[in-house]
Symmetry: D3
Subunit: 130 residues, 6 copies
């Protein structure tokens, strides 16, 4: 028996269905992604994660495209294959062009490099940054 | 004897001084940050890193503020104290407000959380994202 | 020629077979997992890792279920696909229920989120925690 | 001017004070930790994080001590100094003994080691774990 | 439409072809690896990364075999599947034997373990190391 | 009361003293580093870690200097401040020159950068590396 279990809409509890419905309506999509179907194995995690993401990713001082770019940057740094795939797609839907994607990964690459140079050379924080 | 060694301007070789001068002129600052003074222990690393950063962080399809926000996101995820301090300061100089900073860290936090949920639930990539 | 090489029981040296036999007897299993068959390419690593794991995972002040939950938490945080799969299975054998698994991942997710908030806001350690 | 800014109770907005009051009452403490005072710079993050943590860390299928042990395991793996300090203290308050702490770190250490062995030897997932 | 896009030699721009040609000549290979074909989606990243790698991996105070061993060590620690596969192959071409590979992974494993013990026990730096 | 506790030689149990004595004799040092004094809070971890490190770091197919370089590379990638400081010192004692250190960090930096490029561009493994 597979240990990988998605909760499909048809088989979902009313509690889970309500979250799926809200995701579908908010994002204007036919079905929810695998991410939601898998975390729905634990309904409180599904509900809490959706509530939090809905708030955090909403337009604010940063617009949704920038927020998706940040999500990709973190997901790449953490090496999360699913997250890179899904948030790259989300960023493209939000307006990310090929050129933006290229620059995004260039920044992420350089940041990961210089982060390690700073650690390896044990650079003390400049007084101006304290 | 301390193992932590900065290369100050006065003691720098002509090769290192030339890089320092270019950084100071490009960024319009009085002196270079500790990061540069420490990696200057290995002059080829100093020159290569500056050349790369200058190109990667220049305005392009993404503007400098967005690039600095991405730098902070990676540095926070990697837990690099020096980098968080220096790039938060750089992002503020590029226009990051308190509200933007709050939203940036909220996105970084959520991305780190959902990255692990995706891994823990072993979520397979949706065909649409391949 | 594949670079991926498992050392199967039949082809194993007496030294490796002895470790396999001990694992099979201790864990009451028919065959050892791929993990052991791959690290057996370097017999000293096989022997040392088994000796260490046997001691560390034995019942003590923490019972084996808790230890497996901790193993899953670390493996998820490190994004190790093999380790998440094998230790989730091990945790289930040790008594982890679906509900426990859901709460485990919820804690792991929140810890990864708040770890980054603490780093991003550069929170100084409270004197009470020193 | 320091870039590190805590929001103390006296200077907090009513919205922030309300969260502080709930934390103090729930945890029966005189004052909130620095973590809360720093993330209070962005009130929505303060409120959302507290709401989530309150739910996730509540007694459930896993008791609070196990949840704190998991928090320490993740924080150590992520190398978050503040989080290791604060959650080690929290785990001790929840009942963690010196012996438990020693075993916890031994498991965390071994998990980090074997995670890398699995990656380095590129171990394929056993069919039984799929 | 697949989101995964390699830039093959035949379809490459003159700018990209020039980098491919230099890689093929320097490394004496028939074709470039997938790594180069994918980052070629952003030509400035291709050119910059090749220029940097060519310099950094050249023989110097450390010989190429040692540099490849270091690359494997970092790639394993970061859990980058592609990088582990490609740099393990590169290290073998540079002279890494099975025994060296076994010892390399043993060191990487132990370093990852003791890194976490140092963090978990919050070990202060010895004055002699400052 | 401080939560940071070193086990000094004078106050150590005979079991811990025996390990300290072996470390001092093997390494020809006057006293053991803080690392050992802190993990000695859990004597089985002290004994097991020393036994493992003694074996893993001994001369073999890789010489001690290369092993220390690998240790630094992992410690920098994991951002472990204590480990970077102590293993940089150990590598210098084993013969690492300033030039080697510069090249080591350059490789570590580039590896961290290209690891993320490979993940971000979702590069599939070349058949030749399987």
């Amino acid at each position: 028996m597979s240990q990988l279990k998605a909760v499909d809409y048809a088989a979902a509890s009313p509690e889970v269905k309500a979250v799926y419905d809200e995701i579908k309506q908010t994002r204007q999509v036919e079905d929810v992604n695998n991410f939601w179907k898998f975390i729905a194995q634990h309904p409180p995690t599904l509900a809490r994660t959706w509530d939090s993401l809905k708030d955090v990713m909403a337009p604010g001082a940063l617009d949704p495209l920038i927020k998706e770019l940040l999500y990709v940057a973190v997901s790449v740094t953490n090496n999360c294959g699913y997250c890179v795939a899904s948030h790259t797609a989300a960023a493209r839907r939000a307006g990310m062009t090929d050129e933006m994607f290229g620059e995004l990964l260039a920044v992420v690459g350089m940041a990961n490099e210089t982060n390690r140079l700073a650690v390896g050379y044990r650079v003390p924080i400049d007084p101006a940054f304290e």
